[in-house]
């Protein structure tokens, strides 16, 4: 069975403390519960949570949904986004199964990056490492007034923004992530592959698409 690796790369810097980080925790919990109820996702999706504050941490390594236990993310420190990009790239290189012999390759991994700040470390170094891996959909989500220009370097075609980090907006975001992972029917396209946000379900009104 081909697996679909999904990496959630979440900002846990001090500015996320309080309601935002609580909403992130609830969002991850909700995401896992919803995916477990989807027989297709349950079979294919594997989830990992990577957080970044003053450094990056692999909080939950790539895990199948039945065994996945949602972590309790706490917020403190600054924003080591570059290190997080490097870490997720290293994890993907380690985790994602390539085709060999009779072993089928995993699907290209999906990455959802969420931040409310500016990188405080060597972002370009992390970005360069990140770009070395082959990814499926990459979505970068800017919370409050995160720098969307920076995020566009990570995901040129798919930067979205949440104007508030309250639980309603977070919940809408994680619901959309759930739908993106579980998407099934293929639309009829006029000859070309869909790219960027077009390959995902349309985001709900709480989420602005940054163009």
């Amino acid at each position: 069975m081909r697996r679909l690796p999904v990496y959630l790369v979440l900002d846990a810097s001090g500015s996320m403390s309080g309601e935002p980080i609580q909403a992130v925790n609830n969002g991850v919990q909700m995401l896992v519960s919803a995916l477990r109820q989807d027989p297709q996702a349950l079979e294919t999706a594997y989830l990992s949570v990577i957080t970044f504050d003053s450094s990056a941490h692999e909080l939950v390594p790539l895990t199948d949904l039945p065994s996945f236990q949602a972590p309790n993310v706490t917020a403190s420190g600054v924003t080591a986004m570059g290190e997080a990009l490097e870490l997720v790239a290293n994890c993907a290189r380690r985790d994602v199964i390539k085709a060999s012999g009779t072993q089928k390759a995993d699907w290209r991994p999906m990455v959802f990056i969420m931040t409310d700040g500016m990188p405080t470390d060597d972002f370009e170094k992390g970005l360069a490492r990140f770009k070395q891996e082959k990814w499926g959909a990459i979505v970068a989500c800017a919370v409050n007034d995160a720098d969307t220009d920076i995020l566009k370097k990570i995901a040129p075609e798919s930067v979205v923004a949440l104007d508030t980090a309250d639980s309603a907006a977070m919940s809408a975001f994680f619901k959309w992530v759930t739908a993106s992972i579980g998407l099934s029917s293929k639309s009829v396209q006029n000859g070309k592959e869909l790219e960027g946000l077009d390959q995902l379900p349309p985001p709900p009104p709480e989420i602005q698409v940054v163009v």
Binding site: M1, R2, S33, R36, Q37, P39, Q40, L42, E43, P66, K98, A99, T102, Q103, K104, A105, D106, W107, R108, K175, A179, L183, S184, S185, K186, S187, V188, Q189, N190, G191, K192, E193, P201, P202
Partner: protein
């Protein structure tokens, strides 16, 4: 609770939905329950152009009426969840469909194992839960799994629904286990998401289908412009492919094309070739390169995913023949694919071949009795014990003609009934049966080691071997070679009894 009122311009009827009772989101629609949950409101996410609106109006109007507003039309309410009206949401201008809520049987009563660890109790029974051995064995509560006989029943309902659409010149265009709800406890199935109906030459499809069910020719030509003559889009023939995949999955709990062959190191390209241009039946009789690699399967996929242990012939000769027609002959030649009607007929005949398994712990409870080998349940290995009467059916065109074999037999088990469709060849067990034709005409029973047929309603039943009339209320012992004429009418069948010895 946040109830929104909507009114149909088509019918003038008003509807309500609770914008907080979100029932699900797909690629095309968001679904909300009405406050009393008797219907759902399905909002289209994207704006519908005038052609789409015209199609939707035909679906809730003319097409619906042509199927439902006929004698026996009520039957179709049970196998379709067909939208009934169109509304516009005032605040957003979005178009939405009104559709009946699915029957209670299509919602999980117990859900998953370990006190519903997945939290699916009360959710709809999406077919995928039952179409894979892994899901059935690892997750689904035993009380939800149902008996193998009911999976044949589900497939009959599905085939019948698709047959009806095709007879009306319509194609569903996105048949998959997401769009067919099933209930293995009652053997029911309902086709949903009717809004994508394709009308040849009139309404082209919106979606190419769901991965796993998209016909090879559609996948192969995906990258051509839509106007290109070589591009294949969903149609009746692609529905036939999807239907065959569904039936294969519901009776064998594995996918017919997802085998071990690797075509390309890049997963997207590999999948495209695997299900498209180079699609190959995992049980292809000569090209064995796509056989499942048993070592790569999960323990919970076994034994069902191992085709050496569970070859497709365990589904019986009629289905096995159609599997080969679908996935060998017709896989890349759409015109050779069996029709929905072919499937319905084969499934109905297969129901006459099944036997209850004597092992009370058998997960499937029923199996197709195969008298060519040592009869045993293929699922749990339990051998058939004792003597089993097999009734071989013969027909004649008129009284003066000799009887001819029909390639149709009935395996007898205790408390099995004989029905009018066994007696008369002009009666088929389908949606057109009258209430009288649904009544059993006799039954079989094992008494003191002897098999008996007890006649209840047959007025002209004759034991041809012993030249004796058996009146209603009478009985006849089934012995090897016995010939019974079930009815003296032209349409009446002759049965020849064959006694098969088990272990």
């Amino acid at each position: 609770m946040s109830v929104i009122n909507v009114k149909s311009e088509l019918t003038g009827k008003t509807y309500q939905f609770d914008s907080e009772k979100h029932a699900g989101t797909g690629a095309v629609k968001e679904v909300y329950f009405s406050p009393d949950r008797s219907y759902v409101v399905q909002k289209f996410i994207k704006t519908q152009d005038s052609r789409s609106l015209e199609r939707l109006k035909l679906i809730v109007g003319k097409y619906r009426e042509s199927i439902f507003n006929q004698a026996g039309g009520d039957y179709w309410e049970t196998v379709f969840c067909w939208p009934t009206d169109i509304v516009t949401i005032p605040s957003t201008g979005q178009v939405a469909l009104i559709a009946p809520t699915y029957g209670k049987e299509f919602f999980f009563q117990y859900g998953s194992q370990n006190n519903d660890m997945l939290g699916i109790k009360g959710r709809d029974k999406e077919g995928k839960w039952f179409a894979s051995a892994h899901h059935q064995q690892r997750f689904i509560d035993k009380r939800e799994r149902g008996e193998w006989r009911n999976y044949l029943g589900m497939c009959i309902k599905m085939s019948r629904a698709v047959k009806r659409l095709h007879a009306a010149g319509l194609a569903h265009s996105d048949l998959s286990y997401r769009n067919v709800l099933v209930d293995p406890l009652s053997g029911s199935a309902a086709v949903i998401d009717i809004d994508g109906l394709v009308v040849p030459q009139k309404f082209p499809p919106d979606v190419v289908g769901t991965p796993g069910f998209i016909a090879p020719e559609v996948l192969k030509t995906l990258s051509l412009p839509i106007t290109d003559k070589g591009r294949f889009l969903p149609c009746i023939e692609t529905d036939r492919h999807a239907l065959a995949v569904l039936i294969y999955m519901y009776v064998l709990y594995r996918h017919p094309l997802q085998g071990g062959k690797i075509h390309d190191p890049e997963p997207g390209r590999d999948e495209e070739l695997h299900m498209g241009e180079r699609a190959l039946f995992i049980e292809h009789p000569t090209d064995k390169s796509n056989r499942p690699v048993v070592g790569n399967l999960r323990p919970t996929d076994l034994p069902y995913a191992d085709i050496r242990k569970m070859p497709s012939c365990i589904a019986g000769p009629y289905l096995n023949e159609l599997f080969h027609k679908s996935f060998v002959d017709g896989l890349h030649q759409p015109h050779l694919r069996p029709s929905a009607n072919d499937w319905e007929t084969a499934l109905v005949k297969t129901v006459d071949l099944i036997q209850p398994c004597s092992n009370s712990d058998c997960a499937q409870k029923w199996y197709v009795f195969d008298n060519s080998t040592k009869p045993a349940c293929p699922f749990c290995g339990t051998k058939y014990k004792g003597l089993l009467p097999v009734l071989n059916l013969y027909f004649r065109r008129k009284q003066s003609d000799p009887f001819r074999p029909e390639n149709h037999r009935l395996m007898v088990y205790t408390d099995q009934y004989l029905y009018p469709w066994h007696v008369h060849r002009h009666i088929a067990p389908n949606e057109r049966l009258t209430p009288d034709q649904k009544k059993p005409v006799g039954y079989f029973v094992l008494h003191n080691g002897q098999w008996w047929f007890v006649n209840q309603l047959l007025t002209t039943l004759k034991d041809v071997t012993n030249k004796k009339v058996i009146p209603p209320g009478g009985k006849v012992e089934l012995v090897d070679g016995l010939q019974l004429l079930l009815s003296s009418e032209d349409t009446g069948r002759l049965v020849q009894v064959q006694m098969v010895k088990g272990a």
